[in-house]
């Protein structure tokens, strides 16, 4: 009896955020998706440390092009080993293989996998942003490291295989996840700011300002987004640097996807504006800014967060679609769309199926985002009494 009373009291005195948190943690599928998502985000943040090779052309393996994945193993016919190892491969070409290069596995020679080995150099906290205009350039040189999680002593280790230039697909996948998430984050941020401003003005002032802005928002919403993206992305000249292109594409994603969120902000503000507590604040002589910042914004922070998480996978998909048709990011930048572009040739489908490993990561990333968004939405809904 005592316990249940305490529980009840805890429930009634809990803040909105505490309730949301409890409900979210109680949602099993959202929790599983959330952990996978968190794991992937952390992996992508430490991509340089985890990848044994440079994901750009610098890290290519000349002796292993279009190579199949090499999975480290613990035993073979010659017995068991506590340290994982790979067999040695030899490039071979002769009359019996129709003079094509094939790899012969020499099971007698083992190559052991070592951890925390030294490899290619990478930088941490290194920012070098080079946008048009001198004011926007800034440079921070960070720290240089060369320790990697794993590697082998001689030859290469490519656990996801290599592409046609010999670039390690594992390293590329990790950096692609990082880049795609970065593009998505920047895009979501831009669309967030835009929708707050436009939806905010529209909802707070109402009247004819609202009508005009709503008409504009609706017009943008009726144009099919991908063709509009394509139309805008076609402006980017081919000679732009990859950083500039990256920035441009993120801005585009943000500039096109704000209407849905702006509409939600507006609807919420319109209904909240006529509530008594706003009237009370107005009567006390509070300024518009004070009311917006202190009262209106906090009243829907949780909805905004939920909406942002829900809109994230669409950002990722748009970026992928753009890069896929060649209007988005391009080599040498790695993104999931760029990697998918390589996977669409019939020859790849039949012979080099490991090109599809990044596709799997894209699907998992989007699925987890959708599940987490769904869980958050359910958790933030105050009408659900469970």
């Amino acid at each position: 009896m005592e316990v249940s009373n305490q529980k009840k009291e805890a429930y009634y005195t809990a803040t909105q955020m505490q309730l949301v948190r409890t409900r979210f943690f109680g949602n099993r599928s959202a929790m599983i998706a959330g952990s996978i998502l968190l794991f992937m985000i952390i992996c992508s943040l430490f991509a340089d440390f985890l990848s044994p090779y440079d994901p750009t052309i610098k890290g290519r393996d000349k002796d292993y092009e279009n190579g199949a994945p090499q999975i480290p193993m613990f035993w073979d016919e010659n017995g068991f080993s506590a340290r994982p190892f790979l067999h040695t491969l030899e490039k071979y070409r002769g009359a019996d293989t129709n003079f094509r290069w094939v790899y012969k596995v020499d099971t007698e020679k083992r190559r052991y996998v070592y951890f925390f080995v030294e490899g290619w150099e990478y930088k941490v906290f290194d920012f070098n942003i080079n946008l048009p205009g001198k004011v926007l350039d800034f440079k921070i040189s960070g720290f240089t490291f060369n320790t990697h999680l794993f590697g082998v002593e001689e030859g290469g280790i490519h656990i996801f295989g290599t592409d046609k230039a010999g670039k390690d697909l594992f390293s590329r996948t990790l950096s692609a996840i990082y880049i795609s998430l970065a593009v998505g984050t920047l895009g979501v941020f831009i669309s967030f700011v835009l929708s707050l401003i436009i939806g905010g003005i529209s909802g707070y002032y109402g009247g004819w300002i609202d009508s005009v802005l709503q008409m504009f928002t609706d017009a943008i919403r009726t144009v099919p987004p991908i063709p509009l993206f394509m139309c805008l992305a076609a402006f980017a000249p081919l000679e732009w640097s990859s950083e500039l292109r990256f920035f441009f594409i993120s801005c585009l994603l943000g500039l096109i996807s704000w209407p849905t969120l702006a509409r939600r902000v507006r609807t919420h503000l319109l209904s909240e504006r006529s509530q008594e507590y706003i009237l009370a604040a107005k009567l006390c002589g509070a300024s518009s800014t004070h009311i917006i910042v202190r009262h209106l914004l906090p009243s829907f922070t949780s909805y905004i967060i939920v909406d942002l998480v829900i809109s994230f996978p669409y950002m990722l998909l748009s970026e992928t679609a753009l890069s896929f048709i060649g209007l988005g990011l391009r080599e040498p930048v790695n993104s999931l769309g760029v990697l998918l572009q390589n996977a669409t040739k019939a020859d790849v489908l039949l012979n080099y199926q490991w090109y599809f490993i990044p596709v799997f990561f894209l699907v998992v990333l989007i699925l987890t985002f959708v599940y987490v968004g769904d869980g958050l939405r359910d958790a933030a809904d105050p009408h659900k009494v469970k």
Binding site: R221, P227, M230, L232, I325
Partner: protein
């Protein structure tokens, strides 16, 4: 009745204003692209071996009317479309856009509309089942399949089916017609040939659309199902399918009809990429061609205009339908009654 006509006219007026606004956005985008049509065409001629001077460019500009101010050209472009149904000439292909698009846009529209109908036919019953089932595992499975429809990129699904068909049937399934029918006029056998191939893009686009529609239906049903009027109906002893169809399903129909326009928008959006993979010969593929390869802004503008006009039209129709079937909106429109 007067009220209803007034409502229809206001809606039509709003739709036209939206369309004009969209036109303006599309036209401004076309203008922002570096280089004018005249320059691009003459640059193309230059690669063919003829010498081009500065005067030639100026002359060509005057011929195309590019020396006129921006707003004048915008007005001319719009009035040409509205009054003559004429989109002008494609800048690079040197062909009349109407000719280029005539059959292809209808093909795209047919594919999209069939995909839309297909997705709703599946999504509505499945969404209701998913929302009202007692078995959590069934609900979770249906939810997972629909999320997968969102997460799997369209082109990947298309590619996998293509590969499967190639390996097991020896036919790649690309294109919309077999070779012998490609340039034939429409006939019954051509229609069957078209259907035997068009199911692939329709399926791919439809799965994705079904996923979205399913979520809408499911969420609406869940919301409505908890409401008091449903509980009251249950207390009166109505149960099972008749309860669902008479009360919550009927009420959630409104927002579903409302979302048709946006679903069509989404399908149109996905079409170009699927068209690229399946090598379809319709407007979506032409759009990618115009934007990504030849930078043909006239053609791209015309296609985007047509797509948007279709969506605006569908939105207008759904608004009218809603006003007719939904008593709550009808009351708002007619006043009283």
């Amino acid at each position: 009745m007067i009220n209803f006509i007034q409502f229809t006219l206001t809606r039509a007026g709003l739709a036209i204003i939206t369309l004009l606004l969209v036109c303006f956005i599309v036209f401004s985008l076309m203008e922002l692209v570096p280089g004018t049509c005249a320059e691009r065409y003459l640059a193309f001629k230059n690669t063919q071996g003829s010498q081009i001077t500065y005067e030639d460019i100026e002359k060509e500009k005057i011929r195309l009317g590019l020396d006129k101010p921006f707003l004048y050209r915008y007005g001319k472009w719009v009035s040409n479309i509205v009054f003559n149904g004429d989109f002008g000439d494609s800048c690079i292909l040197r062909m009349n856009i109407n000719e280029l698009l005539s059959g292809r846009f209808m093909l795209s529209l047919t594919i999209c509309l069939v995909a839309l109908i297909f997705s709703y036919l599946i999504a509505i019953p499945v969404g209701i089942i998913s929302a009202t089932t007692k078995y959590a595992s069934l609900d979770n499975t249906l939810k997972f399949i629909s999320y997968l429809g969102i997460a799997l990129p369209n082109f990947l699904v298309a590619l996998c089916i293509m590969l499967f068909m190639t390996v097991y049937y020896g036919d790649t399934m690309t294109g919309l017609f077999s070779q012998e029918y490609e340039n034939e006029p429409w006939s019954t056998s051509k229609l069957f040939d078209f259907l035997s191939r068009a199911w692939l893009p329709i399926f791919v686009l439809g799965w994705n659309a079904t996923a979205f529609a399913l979520q809408t239906v499911r969420a609406l049903m869940l919301d409505e199902n908890d409401k008091l009027y449903v509980m009251a109906a249950r207390a009166r002893g109505i149960s099972g399918m008749s309860l669902l169809w008479r009360y919550p399903a009927k009420h959630s129909l409104g927002p579903v009809i409302n979302s048709i326009g946006f679903d069509l928008n989404r399908i149109f959006s996905a079409l170009p990429i699927v068209a690229l993979i399946l090598i379809l010969t319709e407007a979506g593929a032409l759009l990618i061609e115009a934007l990504a390869r030849s930078n043909d802004q006239q053609l791209a503008g015309a296609i985007i205009f047509l797509l948007t006009a279709t969506i605006v039209f569908v939105n207008f129709i759904t608004d009218i339908i809603l006003a007719i079937i939904d008593p709550r909106i009808r009351k708002g429109v007619m006043g009283g009654g």
